[in-house]
Symmetry: C3
Subunit: 147 residues, 3 copies
């Protein structure tokens, strides 16, 4: 949500804006809104994920990955929720960019069952502001279960 009245560079504005951004971005992912998800990244974004031989690059690749994941989950009858938490934000020399680091959980809920913790990860983002909105330019995710 754009916040015209606040100083966009004040720390509370950065911090709450990024929390809100992650909430909306992960909602897209968990709802399988592949197109909308891809638009939360810059056009040339790179996303390095564990288990992938090389980073995903660009919005088409990002959207395809979400479509595939959504199809797999629907077939298994499972809902996934991505939780970002324990966020820290650092300014970068480029005033339009910040470094955002957080912990990330994936909660998996099979139909008619209790949820389980599926993944515990660390997510390191470079975010840039464009037209008052945040976009991910670079994301690197590491999984706690992998050596």
């Amino acid at each position: 949500m754009p916040s015209p009245s606040a100083d966009p560079d004040a720390f509370p504005t950065l911090y709450s804006g990024i929390q809100d951004f992650y909430a909306r971005q992960m909602r897209c992912l968990d709802n399988g809104a592949a197109e909308e998800w891809s638009l939360t990244f810059t056009e040339d974004a790179r996303m390095a994920l564990p288990g992938l031989p090389q980073p995903l690059r660009g919005r088409d690749a990002l959207a395809s990955a979400v479509r595939r994941a959504a199809r797999d989950l629907a077939e298994r009858g499972e809902v996934h929720r991505h939780w970002h938490g324990m966020l820290s934000v650092d300014r970068l020399p480029d005033p339009a960019a910040v470094r955002a680091s957080c912990y990330a959980l994936v909660i998996a809920t099979p139909r008619n069952s209790e949820p389980r913790l599926h993944r515990s990860c660390v997510c390191e983002d470079t975010l840039v502001r464009a037209d008052g909105r945040w976009l991910v330019r670079e994301r690197a995710v590491t999984r706690d279960d992998l050596p």
Copy 2:
């Protein structure tokens, strides 16, 4: 906590204020403070919960539900913690109201055991400000395990 020095309509004020509000409200729920919990809702509040044939309406109904839940948990020797996270906040045409959407977990801890994830939910609230405090006017909770 009222924050006289901040612009109440600035996004960081809304966002951090609602996070703080949820923390206090869920503390009431998890402590079985039924009366105090009910006072975090407007007098005419509606709360739609999975498994209930119709929404709870009004503070008496809300307080009774918490009293019942607290009694059940005490009998089972279990502690529940409600976690709200991944919050997004949208302004509404009514300047005294906002739409707050979040993910919600229930963590259950039996005595002398490790905790488990009991529920993964989505919570959609309409919040209104009264005398500088947030109150829930309408809440709809959905559970990820139910089709």
Copy 3:
């Protein structure tokens, strides 16, 4: 991250600053950065933990406890992540101090396995500001599984 442009006493500044502080502090703990962890406490800090006969006092004791825990985890091949959430912040008569209360989870991930919820806790801190940074002066943690 120091935020020179914001009013340090405004609620959003306090709230987001403490969230950011916890993220960094727990990163130290989970990375086994014992020295750096100890420097997030005042020199005379007290930390009361379940299972300890008496509170830890001072930075040396705090650093030693982290070194021991990190060694144990490395031997078991397990990663722990401390999540603080559901934070509420109260001002205190001393303008340089606040009371911060939150829920705390410990997520444990053995190598090549899914994570599990290891602990669900409540954490009550007295935080003080020194040179624009937060430090813990007093921390009391209680575990939901212990009577």
